[in-house]
């Protein structure tokens, strides 16, 4: 999860949503996909709303 970029996460999330909405997944696959989707959503939301302390520090250090 750490290595993924926002854009990659969003793309994967979109693919999952399409797959879920296609109605072709069985319940086991659906459960797996929903689990992955909630991970991706949490990741994207964090990027949008939580300050990345590490990045902030790097930016502050630019003289």
């Amino acid at each position: 999860m750490k290595k993924i970029t926002y854009t990659e996460a969003k793309k994967e999330l979109e693919a999952i949503v399409f797959a879920i909405e296609s109605g072709e997944l069985d319940v086991d696959a659906l459960t797996e996909k929903v689990k992955r989707a909630s991970e991706l959503i949490a990741f994207c939301k964090e990027k949008l709303t939580k300050t990345d302390i590490e990045l902030q520090k790097i930016l502050d250090d630019i003289a």
């Binding site: 949503v17 109605g23 319940v27 939301k45 939580k50 990045l55």
Partner: protein
Amino acid sequence: MMNQSSLTLSELNRQVKDAIRDHLPETCWMRAETSDVRRNRNGHCYLEFIEKDAVTQSIIAKARGVIWANVFQMLSAYFENQTGQQFTSGINVLVRVSVEFHELYGYSLTVVDIDPSFTLGEIARNRQRILKQLEEEGVLTLNRELQLPELANRIAVISSPTAAGYEDFCDQLANNPGGLVFYAKLFPAVMQGDRSEASIIAALDKVFQYSELFDAVAIIRGGGASSDLNCFDSYLLATNVAQFPLPVISGIGHERDVTVLDIVAHTRAKTPTAVAEFFIARLTRTATEIISLEERVVAESQSRLLKEQTDLFSLSKELVHQSSLMIQREMAATQQLSGKMKYGVKHLLQHQAHLLENRGQFIRMVSPVNILKRGYTLTLKEGRIVTSLHDLSADDIIETRFRDGVSTSVITQVVPRKPLEKD
């Protein structure tokens, strides 16, 4: 020599002055570039008018100029209002001047009127020239063609650090209603006057060194009244911005004018606040997309699970129903079969018994005892039953059996039946 007529300097200057007054119109329109524009504490504006050679750019004419305070106040406001451009050095102007010659101060031009449309035309021509050059070099639209990432919240800000516009920009970002995270890093630059072009380019170079840390660049300048836009119509700045690897958003605080910088920038906003709003709107849309995807996942998986549950429930109900039905059906069939079998066996036995009875009766009917009872007799010779006359001849001893006994006789005559009466 002494008798020859001669003039004092003041007399000569007066004659020059008179000649100028007599031979030149009181005022005339003149095109020139401004230079060294400055105001003294009384509000009078002193400047140089210059003309450069179109090719060599060397100065080929020069004259001192003055705009008296009362005139300057009026003209500069009018000029700035019309052009969005301060009356400053380095601009091409069309001014109405009166040519003055003062015995002590010499030649100078006093400005009495200005035509801003000429300057506008000059600015426009200058912009067109720069844009044409950028286009010919194939760089004009490069920055506009860059894609701003969906998650664009790391912004390199090129601004004067003390500008009110910069503060507004940061406040706006920090207090966005969605609680979205922005990183605004200031790269200070001079945003006004002759040094601004080089200063902004230096700031861009610095951002370039850290470009992987940023999603976009904002070039902003505090609003205020109309101000000097000259530096934003610079070829050097434009070509740097156009070829910059990150999208550049401009917000240099002018309402009407579109500078070359605005044209080559990825996105043009009017003010620093508008640039902040642009970023906020963009990130809000990004967040909204995630929320709507989340809603779709939740809605779809919920309705799907509900449907599976309903399916399972109705399947289990169906299973119970169908299996009890089947059991009932099988039981009924078994019962019916066993009934049938009972009946069938009984019937069969009855039938057989009846058959046996018939046979018995028949056998009883045809038994010799019964036949003898009905009056028939049985003839035997030497212990054997005689069935034909051929077996007998006269003097044979035969035995005749009756129902109730036996007699012995001697044959006296054998008369065979006539053949015609054979049956």
